[in-house]
Amino acid sequence: MQVLLSGLAIGAIYGLVAMGFAIAFYVTRVINFAEGQLLMVGVMVAAWFARTGLDPWIAIVLGILAAAAVGAVTYLVAVRPVLAFDRFSFAWLVSTLGVALILENGAALVWGPTSRSFPALLTGTSVHVGSATLTLQEVVTIGVAIAAAIGFELYRRRTLFGKLGMAIAHDPEMATALGANTVLVATAAFALAGAFAGLAGVLIGPITYSNPYLGDTYGIAGFVALMIGGTSRPAAAMAGGLLLGILGEAANKLIDTQASDWFPFVVVVVMLLVLPEGLLSLAAPFRRAVRRARAPAGATG
C-alpha cells in the first residue's frame, strides 16, 4: 500500500511532465526536450519570489506562469523558425536541447548551482490511508495531477479550441484552410505544456528544493512516462507517469533503494520492445472493433 501510494505521488509528477511533452507533441509533432527544464523554471522562479518575501502561494502561481511563458517562447524561438524553414526538418531536436542547456546553465548562473529552499506549505501534515502514511503534499499532488489530466481531456473534447487542437494534430494544413492560426495554437500548446511542467515543479519543490539541474531527472522520467503512455492522447501520458512511479517505488523497495534512478531506462527499453506504440495500443483493437460495429452497413463508395 505504501509503495502504491508513494508511487502514485511521485508518478503524478512524472505524469504532469509527460503530459507537458504530450500536449506540445500532440499539436506540433515536436518533442520539446526542454520540458524538464520548464519544471526547473517553475521551481526556481517560485522559490526566488518566495525568498523575496512574497506570499508563497502567489510565488507558486508566478512560478507556473513563468514556466508557461518560457514554454511559449521556446516554441517561437527554437521550433517555429526551423519548421518555417523546412516543415519536415528534425532540427527542433537540436534546438530544443539547446534551449534546455541554456535554461539549465542560465539558472545555475543566476541563482547558483546549489540547492536552495522552497516554501514547504503542506509537507508538515501527515495523512493516513490504511497502513500507509503520506504527507498532505503528496495527497494534493495526486489529486491535482488527476484533476489536471481529466480537465485537459474534457477541454480537448468539449471546447472549440480543444477540437481545433485535435484538428491541427490530425491535419494542420486543412485546419489552416478552415481559418486556424496554427502558430497561435501551437504557441498556446507549448505554453500549456510549460504550465503542466511548472505545476509539477511547484508540487515537487518542497521535496527536492530548488536546484538548476532538476530538469534532467524529471525530464527523463517524464519522457519515459510518455513512452509508456503513448502519444495518441495526452491524458495517457498521465497513466504512464503513475505506472512508472509505482514501478519505480517497487524497484526501490525490492531491488535497491536507489533503483528508481536507473529503473526508468529499463522500463522504457522493455516497453519499446513489447508495446512500441505505448500502453494504450493495447486498447486499439477494441476501439477498432467498436468503430466497425458502429459504422453503417456497406460503408463504401
Partner: protein
Amino acid sequence: MSANALDLRGLRAGYGRYDVLRDVDLQVAPGEAVGLLGPNGAGKTTLLRAVMGLVKHRTGVISIAGTDVVRMPAHKIARGLAALVPEGRRLFVDQPIEDNLLLGALHLRRDKARVSELLESVYALFPVLRDVRNRPAGALSGGQQQMVAIGRMLMSDPTVLLLDEPSLGLAPIAIGEVAEALERLREEGRSILVVEQRVDLALRMCDRIYVLAGGEVALEEQARALGEDGRALIDAYLG
C-alpha cells in the same frame, strides 16, 4: 460593374523553383458556377490551393470580391473569402460530424446565432447528416463524407466555393447526390469553381468551362455553347 467573385490575372504558382501555373486568367462572376477541367498534372489542384493561400509561391492577381489575397496568409483567406472541399475530402475522421462542421465556422464562433443558422442550412441541404451528427466522420460512407466536406465548406459562409473533384471515388448514387447538392447551391446564387474530371457532370453543373493544360488555360467557353462538338473538343484536351 461589381467585382468578380474570383478574379485571377496572370497567376503564376508552383512549388519551389518550378511554376506549375503560368499566366492563368480565370474569372468567376457572382452567382456563376465555373467548371475547371484538364488532364492529370495540369495544375487544377494547384490553382485551387493557390486561391486558398496554401501554395507559397504565387504571383499575379488573386482577387476575391475585389480583395487582393495574393499576399494574405491562408488562415485569413479562409475567414469568409474562400473555402475548399479538398482532394480526398480531408475530414477530421476521429471527430464527430458536427465538430467537423463547426470547425468550418471558426471565424464566426462569436456569433452563435449565425453558426446555428449555418448548421441548420447544412442539415437542410443534407438531411441524412443530422441523424449521424455524433458519429466520427471516418465511420461514414464515402458519399456522406463528401457531404460533410461540402457542409464544412459552407459553414464559413464563403464568397467563393472551391471544390476539387467532389465526385472522385464515389458510388454512382453518391455522385448523383453530390451533383444535386451543387446544383442547389448554384440555384441559390453561390459563386462556385469546381474541378471535375467527368465532362458530362461539368457541363450539367456549370455555366462556364475552363480547360487547363500544361499549366495554361487552353479553352474557355460557355457550357451551353458546348454541344457534342464541344465534348469532343474537351476530350481531345483531356487526352
